[in-house]
Symmetry: C2
Subunit: 432 residues, 2 copies
């Protein structure tokens, strides 16, 4: 780059930094208002946004068609185009999603704990909004509505940064959310979208926009999550991958082991809670291994087995070391025979991703040990790993699953998007 | 620096990076063991550490004397030397502190919430350790024992990095903690101290030691906290300052206003919960302002007043803009007359530090509004800001107060040093 070129670009860089900082300040100011907004106002905004989304479905679809045309011309894969494409049904699902978030209980103001002190002070721990949330996502334009709604419900301001490929779609959806805010008398800056495709905006968000963003939530593929986790200078709610295990313990009921394993792997193979590795106790390799693997094969699953598995079942591809930590997200499973629960737990600790792991057993003591010792966000006994989902947990909709150990772990729903403060009520107490 | 000098230094940098990374890995491994340790084992370690501390009091004191000699020779201030100096009483207090932490309830394994799903799944949210905690502190050697004990009780491994001035003292105290761990059969790597005075160690800890540290807690002066908050690439539990307010509302009982204000400011002026600014409603400036200010003056406090305050009370130094955001930590208070609760709340939002703020009023609606709208970790009604303390909250001892909005806000006690996971118990459920 020549000096002249650099000089021409420099102001642009400064401009976007200034623009993003202004977005951050506006979000912080809106967060203050939003933190005090009534449940009713927030719900009215969501319901009005849903109505506006339905009213503007054609406009959203035509903006989306322009996005799709552009990437199709650039040779995008069918899977990419599918993620990007909106249909009338998908727009309706988005509007319905906004109404579902309106129907969720408002977490703000909930008393989480309360106790009295000997000096008569009454202490309450009460939920507050988190503040300002930055959402960085990729091609799915519906994240605009889903994430924006969840953040709003918890009283947070949100800064949305969608994929540049879905820029027109996300912008059109964002306009509906802003219309909802305005109709409810809430500040439009409560839900902002980064108004440029410039990738520098992401880097700026990851530095926290001069302290105005409290947490970043990335939504998308592994390369996005990894970049955000590596570069963010502020807390991130995310999981990089879900290398989930089903462990068939020696005391497992065979029919249950088959049903849970097939469901955990094959119900949907592309979700983070899908099982990627099956561990089977050596003592039941003779009775359980073959029928469970055959059930997987019958369901269309390919097997990568260790030596013991290949000894027990014909036509199994040998597993290599990389298989034990592979998140296939496809109808493939790695299968390993282990010498009991200690080896199973050690294997999960070594190769897993601390996301979701399950044991199948009729032995309560073994189940208790597994649930205590496996260090994952979600541990299950006699249930499918595919239950790793905020909706299935009864949290309403979720913004994702977090495997970090701070603040939010497991499904991140509206409650996990809150903070808290202490309210102390006295009658003139002073400290001795 | 010449190239030769650089070449000679480079390996040292590489050495400390490798050494710190090894400390991180050892901490992570110890955290795994510690997460499964029984309450009894952790308590035995703490009680044995207390006994060892008492047995080795003379050795600790002589190491401390060497530290004190060194800094005294370098012209340290009396306040600095006081913070660094241990006495027989201070060593005994440290040993007693270890026993107090042993007596606290163990948070690990506590079921925080539990609910049943319509499909029969039982979901429990259960406390787990956080993992590995990095403590960066300054001259007070007792932090070694206090922080080490709290982290251990919550099942965490800890990496301690004390001030280079208290290196010998902290190392001697650390040996007692390790003796306690060993006697209880727990891994000695559960509590490690950085074995070098090299300041590069701090920078390395702030990058998370290759993902082995989960959270950093700084203990010390503002410059340390600021450096940690600015440079850390991982979550930090801390507060930079406590610019705490007492707001005397128009419906305040005068005697209560006097007592709370004097206590909030003067009980101990050097703690973060000490009041730094007094706000008084204009409608009671005639009745309340003068007696409250005179009570402060009588208690030895200097006043920096706005115009209205100076009109009401003689001999008050004029406040300048910087006074409103000043954390004096001394017997000085800024006093401002406000036009009602909205201005009081706006002032606190603008100049405060989101730490601890109090309203004095007999008007319940005003109190409720203040407690709802003031965005601080702790908000009090009719009680002194000096109650901002984990012990006063009934949490047992605390490691500090956090003003961040994620995970820990307010006093950070043993419970705030935990994470959680979801335990799900089923009877063969698969996801439809």
């Amino acid at each position: 780059m020549s000096v002249t070129e650099f000089a021409r670009q420099a102001p642009a860089g400064a401009d976007i930094a200034a623009e993003m900082a202004a977005i951050g300040r506006a979000a912080r100011a809106a967060a203050h208002t939003l933190g005090l907004a009534s449940t009713d106002a927030k719900n009215r905004a969501l319901i009005a946004a849903a109505a506006t989304t339905r009213d503007n479905a054609n406009g959203i679809l035509s903006e989306n068609a322009a996005d799709v045309d552009e990437v199709a011309g650039q040779g995008a894969t069918p899977a990419f185009i599918d993620r990007l494409t909106l249909t009338a049904e998908r727009v309706e699902a988005m509007a319905h999603g906004l109404e579902e978030v309106a129907a969720l209980p408002d977490p703000v103001g909930t008393v989480i704990a309360a106790w009295d002190r000997p000096n008569g002070l009454r202490i309450e721990r009460v939920r507050t909004p988190l503040g300002v949330i930055g959402i960085i996502y990729e091609s799915r334009p519906n994240v605009t509505a889903d994430a924006g709604a969840l953040c709003l419900k918890a009283g947070n301001a949100v800064i949305l940064r969608g994929g540049s490929d879905s820029f027109r779609s996300s912008t059109a959806i964002h306009r509906c959310l802003v219309e909802g805010l305005t109709e409810a008398g809430l500040p439009p800056e409560a839900i902002q979208i980064v108004p440029t495709r410039d990738r520098a905006a992401v880097g700026l968000m990851l530095t926290g926009l001069e302290g105005t963003i409290d947490v970043i939530i990335p939504r998308g593929g592994k390369s996005l999550i990894k970049r955000v986790q590596d570069e963010a200078r502020l807390p991130v709610f995310a999981h990089l991958e879900g290398v989930c295990h089903v462990y068939v313990h020696e005391a497992a009921d065979l029919a249950m082991a088959k049903e849970i394993t097939v469901n955990a792997k094959m119900r949907r193979t592309s979700i983070c809670g899908a099982a990627e590795t099956l561990l089977v106790d050596r003592s039941v390799a003779g009775t359980h291994l073959k029928p469970v693997v055959e059930a997987l094969v019958a369901a269309g699953c390919a097997i990568r087995g260790d030596e013991a598995t290949r000894a027990a079942v014909a036509n199994v591809t040998p597993a290599i070391e990389a298989d034990w930590s592979c998140e296939y997200l496809e109808p493939i499973i790695a299968v390993k025979v282990v010498d009991g629960i200690a080896e199973a737990i050690a294997h999960i600790e070594r190769y897993g991703s601390h996301h979701t792991d399950a044991i199948v057993t009729a032995d309560q003591a073994a189940a208790d040990r597994f649930l205590a010792e496996v260090d994952s966000a979600i541990v299950l006994h006699n249930a499918s790993t595919q239950f790793a989902d905020g909706g299935e947990f009864g949290m309403g909709t979720e913004i994702g699953i977090a495997t970090g150990r701070l603040h939010a772990r497991g499904p991140v729903g509206v409650e996990q998007l809150t903070s808290f403060k202490y309210r102390v009520r006295g009658s003139g107490q002073v400290r001795p």
